[in-house]
Each structure stands twice: as structure tokens, then as C-alpha cells.
Symmetry: C2
Subunit: 181 residues, 2 copies
């Protein structure tokens, strides 16, 4: 649950990050920046700001804004009917992001799980993404990511997003945002 005032503050802050990175939104896009707190009410640690450019039956493209050390928690995208799970490419545009996928745990990883949620972060193979660097996740791959101390902007190029079917390691998470008026 995000308070309306906090939601709007996060939108306007995300817009400043985008502007600083030279990414232009039209006013209607700026008004519908999605502020996702994943139902935990700890937006600044577990959360993400999302601009969805397009999401058709085949293709999706988004800009993800992460405030400093903000985390998109561990999850995967399951198959839906005859469709394989969502395929995603994350491309860092600004700042720095740490992406975690299955594999050998990286010693001394840069990411820090949100306090009190450590149990819901189980994979530690680290991919560091600096501007211009990207990584493609095969469908069904468990993953989570966090920005560095300056925050990050990450472009996501993917197949269709069906956010409400995502599977989260942390069972308290609800992906679709609710706003308290």
C-alpha cells in the first residue's frame, strides 16, 4: 500500500531521474509512471518506478527507474498456457544495477537485500550492469535486481508483460499496486 502523496512524490522523483538521463516522456506518460511497492509498504527499499512504452500481444518495452538501493524482489515469469514465460533483456542506461540469477554465488556481492526480507533472496550469481551493458534472461529464469548508491535507469525489452502471473519468492508480495487515498 502506497499513500497517494508518496506515490506522487515518487513519480515526480522518477521523472527527474529520466530527465537527467536525457529520456523524454510525453506529459501523459509522465502522469502514468507506475510506482510499485509490491504491497510491502517499504517503497524505498522494495520498489520500482515503471514507464511502460508498449505492451502488445507480442512485445513489451519499459523504462525502469530505481532509486538508490531500491530493489525489484526475486521472482520469475512462468509459462502461460502454450506460451513460454516472459523473455527479458535488461539494459542499463544510467547509474549502476546489480542483477542476480541462478549460478555460482558471487563472493562479496554488491547487492544488499532489503532489511528483514533477507529470507526471500536465494540466488547470488551477480551481473553488474553499467550504462550500455545488458543481459538477456531466458524464460522462467529466477532473478532480482537492485541499483547502486546513485540509483539506476534500466530499459527492459521483452515479450508481453502479464505482471499478475509473476511468481515471487517472498509470499507477502503483491505485484499490482494499491494506493491509499
Amino acid at each position: 500500500m502506497v499513500q497517494r502523496s508518496e506515490y506522487e512524490r515518487a513519480q515526480s522523483e522518477a521523472l527527474k531521474y529520466l530527465e537527467r538521463a536525457g529520456i523524454v516522456l510525453i506529459p501523459e506518460e509522465a502522469r502514468r509512471i507506475e510506482v510499485a511497492d509490491f504491497g510491502l509498504g517499504e517503497l524505498r527499499s522494495t520498489g520500482m518506478e515503471v514507464v511502460t512504452y508498449v505492451n502488445t500481444e507480442r512485445v513489451c518495452a519499459k523504462e525502469l527507474v530505481l532509486f538508490p538501493r531500491q530493489t525489484c524482489p526475486e521472482h520469475y515469469h512462468p509459462p502461460l498456457g502454450s506460451r513460454p514465460g516472459k523473455e527479458e533483456t535488461f539494459r542499463c542506461r544510467w547509474g549502476e544495477a546489480y542483477l542476480y540469477v541462478p549460478g555460482d554465488p558471487t563472493p562479496n556481492p554488491k547487492g544488499i537485500p532489503p532489511r528483514g526480507r533477507e529470507h526471500a533472496y536465494t540466488i547470488w550469481h551477480e551481473i553488474v550492469l553499467k550504462p550500455g551493458e545488458q543481459y538477456t534472461l531466458a524464460p522462467g529464469t529466477l532473478h532480482w535486481f537492485q541499483s547502486g548508491d546513485q540509483g539506476a535507469i534500466v530499459s527492459e525489452f521483452s515479450t508481453t508483460s502479464y505482471d499478475d502471473s509473476d511468481v515471487w519468492t517472498d509470499k507477502e508480495i503483491k505485484r499490482l499496486p494499491t494506493v491509499e487515498e
Copy 2:
């Protein structure tokens, strides 16, 4: 056919456009910027510079750089086997672009077909794309586009690119570039 020296000059110029727009490439991407003259040998009028970020079996994302008044000529993406044609979203990031699709011809359109190639430009319904503006083409839609006097950078979010199957109105066009050493 593009001369090697012209190819490299266009790459380095395209990189400057991207830098000016705040779009960061890693060095390996900068080296493989594709300079497409569509086989006509008139790169500055009929041509395009392309950075392909990802092109999997499902998703493709590119940055298209257009020098001032450079034109991507009229074409469509046909179905391939059981797959519908390529679906494309064009999002203007910098500069200004004019996209033409089937429909009522726009009076006094801003686009100017490359000289001597006017016969190969048959559709004149105009969509002006300024930074932050975008347009999604349904599979199989005939289209062409040109940048304004300052050039343009356009992001393309699409299904898989199979460039060699594209159908061009101008039968002299060859999409895949050849470079003369």
C-alpha cells in the same frame, strides 16, 4: 555499396548523435553500428544507421540513427511461415521523424522522397514523431520514414528482425549492406 571510409565516417557520426542524446553504447556496440545504404549508394538520402541491442527468436530492440533528411525507404515485413509479420513500435528519442503509413494522404507532408526515387514512395498518411512520441505498426503495414532537418534518433521495439525477408517498393533495394574495401 558503401565505401569502407564512408561506412566508418557514418559510424562515427552516428555515435556522436547517440552521445548527444545521452544514449550510451559499450565500445563493442559502437564498433558494430550498422550503416545501411540499401544498396543504392546514396547513403545520405536513402540510408540508416542501426544499433541492434537484442534480436532473439521473440524480441528485438534497436536504436535507429537518421542523419538530416535521411530516409528509410518504403517496405513491409511479410509473414514468415506460421509467424505473422514483424510488429514494430517506433519511439522518437531525439530530433524529429516523419512516418508514413497507409491512409488518407496528409496535405503538405513534411517528408521529401529522395531525389530520383519518388516513384517508390506511394503512401502519404503522415505521423510526426517528436521526442517521447511513438507509433506501433501492425504486422504487414507498409511504411517509410524520414528525419527532419536536424536528424533523429528513433528506438525500435519489435518482434524478431529478419531483414532479408523485407519487401521493398523500390525493387533496386538490397537491405543487407555490402561494403567496398
